[in-house]
């Protein structure tokens, strides 16, 4: 999910913040306000902000007339949602069964080494984030990694370097 409008944390200039607030209002106005819509709303908000900022979750709670704790509960339950800003480019490595038996540990290790971070972490400049995922469904081409919408199959540690160099993330 490489999108260009990821949060820059607290330093975001005022106009930018206003624009994002406006975007949030726009998102909410396209929904009716039923509980059923909570997950799609959170997904769309995360698309825009790159994570679920606390003020946004509070606003969603008001909009859906749900306790804030419910929003937080759902936001923390699903692996997809992030409560803190994460790296702009998400490098996702599969550690599913098929990938595991075909050497996913070595692939993940190489990415960790190249980026200097562990799964669930982001680089300090918030350029890259690393995630370990259960399966992308490309198991026949195991081991697999995904950056943005690109799926890379039949990976080797050597190919990891190549792929990361292409996105400018090589050490």
């Amino acid at each position: 999910m490489a999108n260009s409008s990821v949060a820059q944390g607290a330093q975001a200039p005022l106009e930018k913040e206003m624009a994002r607030q406006q975007r949030l209002d726009e998102i909410l106005s396209s929904y009716q306000g039923n509980e059923e819509e909570l997950i799609p709303i959170l997904q769309q908000v995360q698309q825009v902000f790159g994570y679920l900022p606390e003020p946004a979750m509070k606003k969603i709670a008001k909009f859906l007339k749900l306790p804030e704790s419910t929003i937080f509960g759902v936001g923390t339950f699903y692996a997809q949602f992030k409560l803190v800003p994460s790296g702009r480019n998400i490098i996702r490595v599969c550690r599913g069964t098929a990938c595991h038996v075909r050497g996913a540990t070595g692939i993940l290790g190489e990415v960790e080494k190249q980026l200097g971070i562990k799964p669930g972490e982001s680089t300090s400049d918030l350029e890259y984030a690393l995630e370990a995922i259960a399966c992308f469904g490309s198991c026949a081409l195991a081991p697999v990694m995904v950056i943005g919408n690109n799926v890379y199959g039949r990976m080797t540690p050597a190919k990891v370097k190549e792929v990361l160099a292409n996105v400018g993330a090589e050490r």
Partner: protein
């Protein structure tokens, strides 16, 4: 427009495509094709056609299952059989266009096989090859043959005729037909589909729902993804038939977010259905109305469990609840709900199109029809397969799969994912059906089939599965939440050489309590991989616990590397590349690994030239080797490994 008119128009379009004087190029661009580079191939085709000024029809199709040979490109010249080419690269496709389209050389050296009537010299018939010969395609029959984004292709190939037939029947008659087909749920448990529908149909209530479970959480399984990407309408047709039979006016497809292409294909398909008014109010002039929504998952394995899935659709945390009441009585928003797997729905469409007796003529007594599997792991020909029930594991692994990678020894095959088990070679001749797999200690599951070889450690696999279920446990019930954690801790101890003799029995005891005490299928089945691996591979557990040895040389804490002084040529290749600086020695001096510094990364093993082959990975006792480097001449031995 009446359905007859829609059908006529679709057939005309399909026929025109086949009668066209232009060559056709089909490119498999499902997710696995893309992962192997299909998009670059597609771009190369466009470029080459433009440069050569060739007027050809390029169609993006789904996956025919030969994932090991992706990217796949098929070329059909007018009046010739279709030729399928594998492992195509942008360079190869440019050659194919030049050689076959321009010069009429079909390049048998690059072809996998032909499809359809007539042959081409030097190219075998694709469906006569071992990889496809014993397969039987019902659910996947259109995947790779039609454009999944074109509803007309589906309709021209028998699509939605099952719905039309169903709408002319009474709902009860349809349920009878599905019962007669013997269809059992493909989502894992194998519950008879017709019976499930009947419960829901008879359940009191005006408002009813149907759901398609497209969460496909089993890591290593991708059958549902491929089907949704390659033939989404077959699933939608099954749902329409089911909704009519059950009396549901609304439905949901719950698809995991990790499948963006499947979601996109579903959205396109749904839009087309609306355009043809095959969904909505008063479908095809009947008084049957049905509306369908697509819901995207948010990354939780437990949401594949039906009650958790429904909670997730309702916007809640995906936590299961105890059953009864079953969804057929109280499901989504407390209303009667029927949930089936993607493949189950697609089978329904086929059954209604071609009849229950036809369907029931395939398979075994208790398991009718076919099953799709994702055949992956340490096997030569990985891919998506569809086989009739009753086929043996041996046929699947050795005939369809070819052989074990790199000529290694077969150790076992995992079915049912984290809820299933790993069956050893003794079961190679067991027929694959619901009951045989269950009595062997595993389950059919949704269709993930992961082949393991001698280099796979069964204790490590058990740890892998438990760490998965432990991570994915929703935390609602204690046996699952803490029980899996306890099992994981013990397994971590064992793979790290801290195992105690009583641990194996403790694991079994814990497993039984977790199975009995857990709220939902996740916890109830989580111990299965551990139990089957203890049952069939107890020796490996014992080696880890008693000898602190990992026979498959996988568990890092139990392995070490050394350099064979007989074989080392003192070439300093490994010495220079060791990231830990743990190798001592010099030119023409036998190298030695400093065990205290070694991080067991395996770089030296990978890099030692095959002609020397001097680095050895071992577990347990290490043979005595010099502790300090010695010059090769003073070793006073005839040199082995010198060629």
């Amino acid at each position: 427009m009446s359905f007859a008119d829609i059908q006529k128009q679709a057939i005309a379009e399909w026929q025109a495509l086949h009668d066209s004087r232009k060559p056709r190029i089909l490119v498999g661009t499902a997710t696995c094709g893309r992962a192997a580079g299909a998009e670059a191939v597609l771009a190369a085709i466009d470029k080459e056609l433009r440069e050569q000024n060739i007027d050809a029809i390029v169609i993006q199709v789904g996956c025919i299952g030969l994932c090991y040979a992706e990217p796949l490109v098929d070329i059909i010249k007018p009046g010739r059989p279709r030729i399928c080419y594998g492992n195509v690269t942008p360079e190869i496709v440019a050659q194919l266009i030049e050689d076959y389209l321009v010069k009429d050389n079909p390049r048998p050296d690059l072809a996998l096989g032909t499809i359809g009537d007539g042959g081409v010299d030097g190219i075998p018939n694709l469906f006569g090859l071992p990889v496809l010969k014993s397969q039987l395609r019902i659910v996947l029959r259109r995947c790779g043959f039609i454009d999944p984004t074109n509803i007309n292709h589906y309709i021209a190939n028998g699509g939605y005729s099952g719905l039309v037939k169903a709408l002319a029947m009474k709902p009860e008659e349809i349920i009878e037909e599905v019962k007669k087909s013997g269809l059992r749920g493909r989502g894992g448990a194998g519950f008879p589909t017709g019976q499930k529908w009947e419960f829901c149909r008879k359940s009191p209530g005006e408002e009813k729902y149907i759901i398609c479970n497209a969460d496909e959480g089993d890591p290593g399984a991708f059958m549902n993804r491929s089907l949704l990407e390659g033939d989404p309408h077959s699933v939608l047709e099954g749902m329409l038939i089911g909704a009519y039979a059950i009396g549901a006016k609304e439905g949901y497809i719950y698809c995991r977010a990790e499948y963006p292409l499947a979601l996109e294909r579903l959205r396109i398909a749904l839009k087309q259905l609306k355009e043809y008014q095959l969904i909505g109010d008063n479908i095809l002039g009947s008084n049957f109305s049905f509306h369908l929504k697509i819901k995207e998952g948010a990354g939780a394995f437990v949401c594949g469990e039906e009650t958790a899935l429904m909670a997730s659709i309702e916007g809640k945390r995906g936590m299961p609840r105890s059953r009864p009441p079953f969804p057929a009585v109280s499901g989504l928003w407390g209303k009667p709900t029927n949930i089936n797997n993607v493949e189950t729905w697609a089978n329904v469409a086929a059954i209604m199109q071609r009849g229950a007796s036809w369907y029931a003529s395939y398979g075994t007594q208790g398991s009718k029809g076919t099953k799709t599997f994702s055949l992956v792991g340490k096997v030569e020909r990985t891919g998506l397969i569809e086989v009739p029930f009753g086929i043996t594991m041996r046929q699947i692994i050795y005939e369809i799969g070819g052989s074990i990678l790199k000529g290694k020894r077969f150790k076992g095959v995992q079915t049912g994912g984290p809820s299933g088990g790993c069956l050893p070679p003794d079961f190679l001749d067991t027929p694959v059906d619901y009951d045989s797999l269950t009595s062997a200690g595993s389950i059919m599951g949704s269709g993930g089939m992961i082949v393991m070889d001698e280099d796979t450690c069964m204790v490590d696999m058990a740890r892998f599965f438990i760490s998965f279920t432990q991570l994915e446990s929703c935390g609602k019930c204690i046996p699952c939440r803490w029980g899996t954690k306890q099992m994981l801790d013990i397994l971590e101890d064992i793979v790290n050489g801290r195992g105690k003799p009583e641990d194996i029995e403790l694991l079994q005891e814990l497993a039984e309590s977790i199975k009995d005490g857990s709220l939902c299928g996740l916890g109830q089945t989580a111990p299965n991989p551990v139990l089957t691996s203890i049952r069939y591979f107890r020796d490996e557990y014992k080696a880890h616990v008693e000898e602190k040895r990992c026979p498959a040389l996988v568990c890092n804490a139990l392995i070490s590397y050394y350099i064979d002084p007989e074989k080392c040529q003192g070439c300093i290749i490994c010495l220079r590349s060791c990231p830990a600086g743990a190798i001592k020695g010099g030119k023409r001096v036998i190298h030695v690994i400093d065990q205290d510094k070694c991080t067991k990364c395996g770089t030296c093993l990978d890099i030692c030239p095959p002609r020397f082959n001097a680095v050895v990975k071992t577990s347990g006792e290490r043979p005595a080797v010099p502790e300090e480097p010695v010059p090769i001449s003073s070793a006073g031995k005839t040199r082995g490994g010198q060629q």
